[in-house]
């Protein structure tokens, strides 16, 4: 019997390792494959078996349930187990998930190169090697793929700029800083299917003429660091990386650089400074990193998920990818649902589902059973969307109209016990703490905003201070050099405008 148990750090954080240990005792002859996570975290630790050629899951499994589980399975009636969840592929399909970028994550052992190949690995890179860089770039453009790191810039256009900029040396930098709270897709992919990221980076290199890649990885992810390191070594042995990739005579290699606990280094120009061994101060743009990036050379900078989505686009077709989604948001979003929600996890679904659908249908509403009051959409710089706006479809422009954003795809759910003045203050604490310090509205404004919120909450001159807070937010939004200071007002203003009662403010301002 073959068992599958995740080695994903989040699954391990709630006992997957102990379950695996118990299984080796309860079923000493069993083959145990340690996979990434399926992203169905409410079912973790999830144990899967292969039954009639299909994967069947049980979860969440406690350590003391393991021997009983083995008995039930060996008894030939797996469906009679109380934790039986049936076929995982079917469950994903029922949720409307389309696992394109995450096709292999949770399915195979992350650094088993043969398994990677058996599940379609390198098909995208082979396509890229068989065609001109321009053809690849055209396909990325046609797919409609936009940056999944936050800004949503079309990936193909960025690649075109790097391609068209002359330079003897060019770079691909993968942004694996994943600093946004409520997001974990990068981590899951790097721990669960690292070859896909390396393949995506190699494709970016081949298409644009870059021969060196860096992965800027946050230091909070030690497991991803280890898995990626092992994957890079294995990839070199199989010529997925190196001086003769897949026998093409082309070279591309990757090195990991660890961040050092600075949120702002997720901003691309700050990241370049950091990669160059400096303080992570944000750079003025222009010049664009695509023209003068790492070491002033043309540089592709993309998020982990952006790069990891390219192999499937090339392996199938740009048109297939583009056929999913709505308006200018094409393909799948790797949505990460967390906070006070019954079924937190990774949902890879086409753009266009409403927040209502995601939070209440897929997520099952709050975990506490209390009414859902709001969700913060798009990370710590994203707005708090009130439940009355959950009819908004998830798309770059669609959320933008509500002053929210797709960002890196995080949706954090809160029930009605949340204190929105506290959340607003926290947004400014965070802005203050992680400001790079280069410009005044962000560095000083975030400190002043905390003081003003404290005044409001203490009941001092509430209306006048609320006006002052709005003015200050306007100043930060307009006067900050980067989106750290520029977007941080979004959570504050959304809290103040939609939940003015939590601030003691009488007149709700114009609501949009």
């Amino acid at each position: 019997m073959k068992y599958f148990i995740p080695k994903d750090s989040a699954a391990v954080s709630i006992g997957a390792e102990q379950v695996a240990d118990a299984l080796t005792v309860a079923a000493p002859d069993a083959e145990i494959v340690r996979t990434g996570s399926r992203g169905l975290y409410w079912l973790e630790p999830l144990v899967e078996i292969e039954h009639d050629g299909r994967r069947i899951g049980f979860g969440p499994i406690e350590t003391d349930e393991v021997s009983g589980l083995v008995e039930t399975i060996l008894g030939g009636k797996p469906e009679s187990h109380p934790k039986y969840v049936g076929r995982i592929e079917q469950l994903l399909r029922d949720q409307g998930q389309q696992r394109l970028t995450f096709a292999r994550c949770g399915v195979i052992e992350p650094i088993d190169f043969d398994a990677f190949m058996a599940h379609g690995g390198t098909a995208g890179l082979r396509t890229a090697l068989d065609q001109s860089g321009q053809t690849t770039i055209d396909a990325v453009k046609e797919s409609g793929l936009r940056g999944r790191g936050g800004a949503g810039f079309p990936a193909g256009i960025k690649w075109q700029t790097v391609h068209d900029t002359p330079g003897a040396e060019k770079f691909v930098v993968c942004n694996a800083d994943e600093g946004d709270s409520g997001t974990f897709a990068d981590r899951m992919l790097m721990e669960g299917d690292p070859f896909t990221l390396l393949e995506g980076m190699a494709i970016a290199g081949v298409a644009t003429g870059a021969t060196r890649g860096y992965i800027y990885l946050r230091s909070e992810y030690p497991d991803a660091f280890q898995t990626l390191n092992e994957a890079i070594n294995i990839a070199r042995r199989h010529n997925l990386l190196g001086s003769n990739i897949l026998g093409s005579g082309k070279s591309f290699d990757v090195e990991i650089r660890l961040g050092a606990g600075a949120y702002i280094c997720g901003e691309e120009t700050s990241m370049l400074e950091s990669l160059e061994g400096k303080r992570g101060l944000v750079r003025f743009k222009p010049p664009l990193p695509a023209i003068q990036g790492f070491q002033s050379k043309p540089t592709v900078i993309n998020n982990v998920i952006t790069l990891s989505s390219v192999p499937t686009i090339l392996a199938h077709s740009a048109a297939t990818y583009h056929s999913l989604g709505i308006n200018k948001s094409r393909g799948t979003l790797t949505l990460q649902l967390s906070g006070n929600v019954a079924r937190p996890g990774l949902y890879e679904i086409p753009f266009g589902a409403t927040l209502e659908h995601v939070i209440n249908e897929l997520g099952g509403g709050s975990a506490s059973g209390r009414p859902v009051r709001t969700a913060q959409v798009g990370g710590p710089l994203g707005a708090y969307v009130p439940a009355s706006h959950f009819d908004t479809p998830i798309g770059y422009e669609e959320l933008g109209e509500r002053n929210a954003m797709v960002g890196h795809g995080g949706v954090v759910v809160f029930d009605d016990t949340v204190n929105m003045a506290e959340q607003a203050r926290f947004a400014m604490e965070f802005c203050d703490l992680e400001s790079c310090g280069k410009c005044t509205p962000c560095r000083v404004g975030s400190v002043r905003a905390q003081e003003v919120i404290d005044q409001i909450v203490a009941g001092h001159d509430i209306e006048a201070n609320a006006d002052l807070l709005r003015e200050l937010m306007e100043l930060m939004a307009q006067g900050s050099l980067c989106a750290h200071g520029g977007m941080a007002p979004a959570p504050v203003l959304s809290a103040l405008n939609h939940f003015s009662e939590d601030f003691g403010v009488r007149e709700p301002a114009e609501i949009n």
Binding site: S13, S181, G182, F184, E220, A260, N340, P380, V412
Partner: protein, 155 residues
């Protein structure tokens, strides 16, 4: 003490020599020093500056910009507690308070606030010596801090 800092100095020089051929090696060097010595001692500033042909001010500026680098020897255990939103939504504030007050009692555990460990779907989250632990409660985190205090540091 003197001898101690001489060995440290030699280790730092070795680390610099190992990294000198890399592009922009400063962060990798600082990480290597911290992982070898547990912190980045003041003598590192001059040593690294000399090795990289940079000013002391440049090295100092980088060292102090990043939250990760410690300039004092660490406690026996490092506990990172997530204070960010997804954890807040399921009781993370109470977990932080419990960790902070348990650590206050001279526990030898360094408690540090972090803002997301990428473990949001299994929140509230903490990370003890690099191992993430999910769905923690205030009681559990207090016990972890007190318990970690009693066990020896792993190697």
């Amino acid at each position: 003490m003197e001898q101690n800092s001489d060995t440290e100095r030699n280790q730092i020089r070795d680390i610099c020599a190992d990294h000198i051929d890399q592009q922009a090696p400063l962060l990798p060097i600082l990480h290597a020093i911290q992982s070898r010595l547990g912190y980045v001692p003041d003598i590192a500033i001059g040593e690294v500056a000399d090795a990289l042909n940079q000013t002391h001010a440049e090295i100092f500026g980088v060292l102090t910009f990043y939250h990760d680098f410690r300039r004092q020897p660490p406690g026996r255990h490092q506990l990172k507690v997530c204070r960010a939103e997804a954890c807040q939504a399921v009781g993370g504030r109470a977990v932080w308070s419990a960790a902070a007050s348990a650590a206050d009692n001279g526990s030898g555990v360094d408690v540090e606030a972090v803002y997301c460990l990428g473990n949001c779907a299994c929140a509230p989250s903490i990370q003890l010596d690099g191992h993430t632990i999910g769905r923690v409660t205030p009681d559990r985190v207090s016990n972890i801090v007190t318990g970690a205090n009693q066990t020896r540091a792993p190697s």
